[in-house]
């Protein structure tokens, strides 16, 4: 059992969720309520990681942020280390890769709030920020929580893009999914089995808790 890999996976998932939470709320809300030219294109871009093989996304990340790219060189100049094959690079890849999981459920959550309820918030004198905090988020939060849980669980399970962008550096980019692959390659079936079971347990627990919570919210509101 590679505890370092598990800890790294959990850390990666936590960072992903922490950074995606405001993105999920603001972008999801924006796409739910605003009508504008080119909205379909934005929505398609958000959804793209869902249909692309992780290798394609990983390839473009390597090209864009690699050692020889302008962005990669600027990053290295600023922080003294490369973006690719580092934990920071993994976080970046994870953010992009989880965008559809983070945005779509939140967008649906905001869309489910009747327009009149939002208008009533304005007529009650609530500023848009106050309405978001007092009315929209409490009503949309099952969607936002679903988005965060999916992103968390999905990050734990991600393999292809991590391999492309991160490689398998222990303590830096070797997540539990990579560690399992390495163990299988090394014919260490026992370790692979333990880690796989742990991953199944964590993922199942996270998703089950979310479903239980959202069912409770559903009962409260209906």
């Amino acid at each position: 059992m590679d505890w370092t890999a598990l800890e790294l996976s959990l850390r990666l998932a936590a960072w992903t969720v922490a950074i995606l939470l405001p993105v999920s709320i603001l972008l999801g809300r924006f796409l739910a309520y605003r009508q504008f030219r080119g909205k379909a294109l934005i929505e398609a871009l958000v959804m793209l990681p869902l249909v692309l093989p992780p290798t394609v996304l990983g390839f473009y990340l390597l090209v864009t942020f690699g050692r020889n790219s302008p962005v990669g060189q600027a990053w290295a100049g600023l922080f003294g280390q490369q973006l690719v094959f580092s934990f920071e690079g993994l976080v970046l890849a994870s953010l992009l890769f989880n965008l559809p999981f983070a945005v779509l459920p939140a967008q649906r959550g905001f869309q489910a709030i009747p327009a009149e309820v939002r208008e009533a918030a304005a007529c009650c004198g609530m500023s848009p920020w106050r309405a978001l905090w007092k009315v929209e988020l409490p009503l949309a939060w099952p969607g936002v929580v679903t988005a965060m849980v999916l992103s968390f669980a999905h990050t734990l399970g991600e393999f292809g893009i991590v391999l492309m962008v991160g490689g398998s550096i222990p303590g830096e980019t070797r997540t539990i999914a990579i560690a399992i692959y390495d163990r299988v390659q090394a014919f260490d079936t026992e370790a692979a089995a333990v880690m796989s079971a742990v991953l199944v347990a964590i993922s199942l627990f996270t998703i089950a808790v979310t479903f239980a919570l959202s069912a409770r919210v559903g009962r409260r509101l209906s």
């Binding site: 208008e119 918030a121 304005a122 007529c123 004198g125 848009p128 009315v135 509101l221 209906s222």
Partner: protein, 366 residues
């Protein structure tokens, strides 16, 4: 504190409307669905901006497209009761009311909930309240904003008839507390006539007729333009006694009226809606007739109606009663303005929801 509204638009629906509502006055915007009346409420509230519009409240511009003034909805002191109530489902009644306050004040919320007869229900969430109770919470929330204009968008359309009658009576009783201009949007002419001081009839976004409720409801042409056949007048009356046979005697300026039991102790002031098509005219005082209400008056006007009908205006005791009869009958009786006639009304033809308590505010609506 008056509310002044001007709105002009071509799309998505045409609008060409001006009106003014005085403080404490209840104005009904009446029209079919799609006539633009709800759009006007949304314009006042700041949820919609027509191409050209001006909304002034208490002398302050909320919206003036010419001067590029357009306060967002949350900066306008407006109370809006939505047709669907639009309560916040995750908050209980008290929290819904407090959500509209600048400083949350539980005692004040309880006072307002009492005012709308929701005493003790503050802890319930909207899903645990009946339609009529939800409507009262919506009204309480609108009042908690201390609005400079109170807007009611078909607020009684989603409840059953008995609840609607009760809510009508409550609104009438509440009028004494309402010092701001009130705008009621409705397609229900009976409702407008029961509740409103003045009416603006709207069709295709334009004003067909505006005036006091009595004026508008006596204008057959305005109502015909609206496709409304419910020509009727409101008579003020006082409950005199409840008779053992199930009738109530009311004292009206037109003489006594006998109606099926009217709610209220003797002395209660009410208004009775008399439909023009329920009134029969007779030259001589009829005898041997089952109808209990025979009111003697003088014809002031005979207005041609639609098709075979005419509307006869009869002055009775300082009020006017309308009778919709056939042109043939008017010719047979040789009715002329100035003639004396008897207006006959069956007791049973006055529906229970056509009798309402007079407004407590003492404002004369006739």
């Amino acid at each position: 504190m008056a509310l002044e509204v001007m709105a002009r638009a071509e799309a998505p629906i045409p609008l060409h409307v001006d009106f003014r509502v005085e403080p404490g006055e209840l104005l009904a915007l009446v029209g079919h669905s799609g006539s633009g009346k709800t759009t006007l409420l949304r314009t006042i509230a700041g949820l919609w901006t027509p191409a050209q519009a001006r909304v002034r409240v208490a002398g302050r511009a909320w919206l003036d497209t010419a001067a590029r003034v357009n306060l967002p909805a949350h900066r306008r002191r407006v109370g809006l009761v939505f047709q669907t109530y639009a309560l916040f489902p995750h908050m209980n009644a008290t929290q819904n009311v407090m959500a509209a306050m600048e400083r949350a004040d539980a005692a004040e919320a309880a006072r307002i909930l009492d005012l709308v007869n929701l005493h003790g229900l503050g802890g319930r969430r909207p899903a645990q309240l009946s339609g009529g109770q939800q409507q009262r919470v919506a009204l309480a929330r609108a009042l908690a904003r201390r609005p400079q204009a109170l807007l009611l968008d078909e607020p009684f359309s989603a409840v059953d008839r008995a609840t609607r009658e009760r809510l009508h009576a409550e609104i009438i009783a509440l009028r004494a507390h309402l010092k701001m201009p009130v705008v009621l949007v409705t397609h229900d002419v009976n409702e407008a006539q029961l509740l409103a001081d003045r009416m603006v009839v709207i069709a295709q976004g334009a004003v067909v007729r505006a005036g006091t409720t009595a004026e508008v409801m006596a204008d057959a042409e305005a109502l015909r333009a609206m496709g409304i056949r419910e020509l009727a007048v409101m008579l003020p009356a006082t409950v005199a006694e409840h008779l053992p046979d199930g009738l109530s005697r009311l004292d009206a300026p037109t003489g006594p009226l006998f109606l099926p039991t009217v709610a209220g102790e003797p002395g209660t002031r009410v208004r009775v809606r008399i439909m023009a098509h329920d009134v029969i005219l007779s030259r001589d005082r009829p005898e041997g007739l089952s109808a209990q209400n025979i009111l003697e008056g003088r014809i002031t006007r005979i207005a041609p109606g639609q098709g075979p009908g005419v509307v006869v205006h009869v002055a009775v005791g300082g009020h006017e009663i309308l009778a919709r009869i056939t042109r043939r009958a008017a010719d047979q009786l040789e009715l002329r303005p100035g003639d004396t006639v008897h207006a006959i009304l069956k007791s049973m033809s006055v529906a229970r929801d056509h009798v309402a308590r007079a407004p407590d505010g003492g404002r004369s609506t006739e």
